[in-house]
Symmetry: C2
Subunit: 266 residues, 2 copies
């Protein structure tokens, strides 16, 4: 099944645009899990089993697994296996490299880790994106305007009267039907702008809600023009929610799910 179809089915089934981000940090997981054979995986199992009926997708942030070496990579690969087949998995690595290297990254993300979608960096141009797009049943989210404070340093530079992130959005539109964008919820006006450039048929992945302080209402209103063309990612504010683990995770996820739905057009 193609990524978009799988995503839309999950959105419908769980009535949710929420993606839970598995930025699993060994130093932040409950003590009782730390003696398990693979604590990162044990934590993710609890998170997934308590949220799988509340989300449209999961996003796995590769950095957090790479920081634990071989055990981390094991946890990463096994986490994808424990996520139900009907919930798409976004592998968030923001890779970007020249053609022959990009092919190896695409293989890693889509064949070894077996993700349904990947985040990529546009700085090297089409060469670096194409090997991922060739997996036509998968999806690519190219970072466009990122949620961090210094994203303006490069992304907001004026190029022929436009901002660089707008030009990147134009490239995304041209690069192909299975290419969407990442725009941070901390920049809702930019979400509106990117949506205008991409049209309604591309998915925008929106991180930056929760700890990063993004604007949920505007992000949904500006981004979600078809009812199903955005994914709102929340990582830390769900998986490290205060309270009794894992119920606190479920409660936080359900709160976000409902809040997002308040602003959905249909």
């Amino acid at each position: 099944m193609r990524f978009v179809e799988k995503l839309e089915n999950a959105i419908d089934k769980n009535d949710s645009l929420l993606c839970v981000g598995l930025d699993t940090d060994l130093s932040k997981i409950p003590d009782y899990l730390k003696d398990d054979e693979n604590p990162l995986l044990s934590f993710n199992k609890e998170v997934v089993s308590h949220t799988k009926d509340l989300v449209c997708s999961y996003k796995i942030n590769l950095a957090f697994y790479e920081a634990s070496g071989i055990a981390g990579v094991k946890a990463l690969i096994d986490t994808v296996k424990i996520i139900p087949d009907d919930i798409p998995v976004i592998i968030d690595g923001k890779r970007g490299d020249i053609g022959n290297t990009a092919r190896m990254y695409a293989k890693a993300v889509f064949e070894v880790i077996k993700g349904d979608a990947a985040t990529l960096n546009p700085y090297l141009g089409y060469d670096s994106i194409k090997p991922f797009l060739e997996y036509e049943d998968r999806y690519v989210f190219v970072i466009c305007k990122t949620s961090n404070p210094s994203s303006s340093e490069i992304q907001d530079r004026k190029v022929n009267g436009k901002r660089l992130y707008q030009l990147v959005a134009e490239r995304i539109k041209e690069w192909g039907p299975n290419c969407g964008a990442v725009v941070g919820a901390t920049y809702p006006e930019e979400i509106r702008e990117v949506r205008k450039i991409l049209g309604d048929d591309r998915i925008i992945l929106i991180p930056g809600i929760g700890k990063q302080g993004g604007d949920l209402e505007k992000s949904v209103r500006y981004g979600c023009t078809s009812g199903k063309n955005i994914i709102i990612n929340v990582s830390r504010s769900v998986i490290y929610a205060e309270g009794d683990f894992p119920q606190c995770v479920r409660d936080a996820a359900d709160d976000f799910r409902r809040n997002i739905n308040l602003f959905r057009p249909f």
Copy 2:
């Protein structure tokens, strides 16, 4: 020892500006190694033992190891261990992410993999670079003008009368003393331009020689203004050189080393 000191010592000891790129591809290594417990590592052992007196550094391209999953990550970590301590290792992953994620990538690259330097992507700005720069004894190479054909798509855009890659070079100059640039040998004029912006005290890592067809003479003449401030990376044309493995690797590395030295100013 700081990266630059270690690099300069290796340059002197081996009279070499050559970095051998370990883009080790399971499908391209000699058949007799394929039954080994970890063929990627076995191949790298042969390459390193036959070139370690001819190079100033090694560069490990993460994509090629990630594409082999857990066995690949094992080979990666063990490859760093078999490289002699006095030869610096550049971890080439071109990472770029928001602050808290960048910290995890920095941990992965400098503490888990134990690289001496890392390649990074500038698209997210200073936030995404700073956690790496804080390892003051290590070095960061930010991609500036990459060697691939579509690098112009974003990197050559005009921003206030300059090209974007020039603006990135200006940021690199400001970001700190342990921050250098990656500029492809396929764009020698851009090497000259970046050198002018960075001054003589920053290292430029130059890939794109060999299979990619970069201009070795101009790359060295334009980049190497101090005698020790460039690293010329060659990957495929050394490790998959034609002939009897591993002697062919040694011969190819020595040819590149000598050819580079022909153009060194001193």
